[in-house]
């Protein structure tokens, strides 16, 4: 699903966020991306969805070399990928329902179907009672779950989750993890950047650890840290 070879990203201001990263994530995998603050986790996810372009090296996602995507292909490419952003990226002027619906409006699903699917995912994340409310009227954790709902409503091939439990209490976090596990079981590849040691240790999935932009560890069924 994702293949990176000697992938390097240097931002315009000179920061080397990723350096010579090589990895291979297969279809259907569930991968944790860990590493200290500023290690390059979000940068990697942003490269995958082509929000940023690699400075050097090779990156292919779902069989496409992202550096070679034409401008008009990008929207179609992105539609197959769900992304829970670290800062949520909700539309401030759309209600929760509209925020989630947007991912379906874009692919022109018909209104009845949109309604059904949106209700379904809002129920999954426990926010069906907040459907007609604006993001500014939600708590941090609630906003985070809206972002999750929007990312999965479209049944993506690949789900990128950037710290999706950062503002959730442990119980809610676990419910969300169960949900992600279920989605993964149905075939969606998941890459999740996280700092939540408890979750990583308990899930026993593949762990890729970055540090200062370099790959420092890649174990299947690993823990958050080596000593764990």
């Amino acid at each position: 699903m994702i293949q990176a070879r000697r992938l390097t990203k240097k931002y315009d201001n000179g920061v080397l966020a990723l350096e010579n990263l090589s990895l291979h994530i297969k279809k259907g995998e569930f991968v944790f991306l860990v590493g200290p603050s500023g290690a390059g986790k979000s940068t990697f996810l942003n490269l995958v969805i082509r929000r940023e372009t690699p400075t050097d090296g090779f990156l292919s996602v779902a069989g496409r070399n992202v550096a070679l995507l034409k401008k008009q292909e990008i929207p179609f490419f992105r539609r197959r990928i769900g992304y829970i952003f670290q800062d949520y990226k909700l539309f401030p002027n759309k209600t929760v329902r509209e925020n989630v619906s947007f991912a379906l409006e874009v692919i022109e699903v018909d209104p009845g179907e949109i309604r059904k699917r949106v209700n379904f995912v809002l129920d999954l994340v426990g926010l069906i009672h907040k459907a007609e409310v604006f993001p500014s009227e939600l708590s941090g954790g609630e906003q985070q779950r809206v972002s999750l709902a929007r990312a999965i409503v479209n049944r993506p091939l690949l789900l990128l989750a950037d710290e999706p439990t950062g503002n959730l209490d442990p119980d809610t976090s676990w419910e969300i993890m169960e949900l992600l596990r279920e989605i993964n079981r149905r075939g969606t590849t998941i890459v999740m950047a996280t700092h939540n040691r408890e979750i990583v240790n308990r899930m026993q999935k593949r762990v890729i650890a970055l540090e200062k932009g370099r790959l420092v560890r890649d174990e299947s069924k690993g823990g958050y840290a080596v000593e764990a």
């Binding site: 002027n93 509209e98 991912a103 022109e108």
Partner: protein, 290 residues
């Protein structure tokens, strides 16, 4: 693209406007006022033009007859037959003297019975612009000794009308550009304030056109809203002013409100829609590049 997607675009546009109420109203106000300025400019130009043509239309040609001139009635018929002539009046030498005295403000001028003036005709052209051509033809009529009209005045008036045309409409074109610029800038600012939303749309997989449509419709609605306000302001103010002016002077007659209404409405809505759409397209384009 499916039909219901267009319905969605309209809903989106409407929501965008309503949920950014303050911004929308501010933008609409600016557009309205810019259109009002455009309207004021074009109404002034059009009325000056109209007034100049009216003045040209009031010009008369004076044809003095030779002493040996034939029957007046026959001559009158002949002149009347010249194309562009609207009306011909016979002026006897006595009437002529009285007219000249009055024009000079000097009452005792010809009182001693010696009247050197010949009989004459007053000729009214249908269109002021034809004065010189008609004068030329009248001159060739047998029995007409001399043809007189305020040549300098006609020429000055012609020049003025032409100047109003060139300067007025040149200026109007520039004002139009200025209004276009203001409207486009205003709409750009509404889009600027929402550039984050465009970024999110792109990240969620919206195509450029999917993003552009609602913004374009918003621009058009803003343009129409602005036009609506401008139409009301301009027509009401025009009615009030031309009414007031009618009380001050009967010489200065303006186009009536009824005459200008269709042009004002058509023009404003056309400009509003066009500039609104253009403004959104140009500014969304900028943020799509990101």
């Amino acid at each position: 693209m499916k039909l219901r997607t267009f319905r969605y675009f309209f809903r989106e546009a409407w929501r965008g406007l309503v949920r950014n109420r303050l911004m929308s109203l501010t933008a609409m106000g600016t557009i309205a006022i810019a259109l009002v300025l455009l309207g004021v400019f074009s109404l002034i130009t059009t009325n000056l033009q109209y007034f100049g043509n009216l003045a040209l239309g009031r010009i008369e040609i004076r044809a003095f007859l030779s002493e040996s001139a034939r029957n007046h009635e026959l001559l009158k018929a002949e002149i009347q037959a010249i194309p562009g002539v609207q009306r011909v009046e016979f002026v006897s030498k006595e009437e002529g003297a009285r007219w000249l005295e009055k024009a000079l403000g000097n009452k005792g001028l010809f009182l001693d019975g010696e009247n050197p003036l010949p009989n004459s005709f007053n000729i009214h052209p249908a269109r002021g612009a034809d004065v010189e051509k008609i004068a030329g033809q009248v001159r060739r009529v047998a029995g007409v000794d001399e043809v007189v009209y305020g040549r300098d005045f006609v020429r000055l008036l012609h020049l003025a009308v032409r100047l109003i045309w060139v300067l007025g409409f040149g200026l109007l074109f520039l004002v139009m550009l200025a209004v276009l610029y203001i409207v486009v800038n205003t709409i750009q600012m509404t889009v600027y304030a929402r550039r984050k939303e465009i970024e999110i749309m792109k990240l969620v997989g919206a195509t450029d056109w999917f993003i552009r449509w609602p913004f374009m419709l918003e621009g058009i609605i803003l343009g129409i809203g602005g036009a609506l306000i401008a139409v009301v302001i301009v027509l009401e103010a025009y009615a009030f002013l031309s009414n007031r002016l009618g009380q001050v002077s009967t010489v200065l007659s303006l186009l009536t409100r009824a005459e200008i209404t269709p042009y004002v409405i058509g023009g404003f809505f056309g400009v509003g829609v066009l500039f609104g759409a253009l403004g959104s397209l140009l500014s969304v384009k900028r943020y799509l590049g990101i």
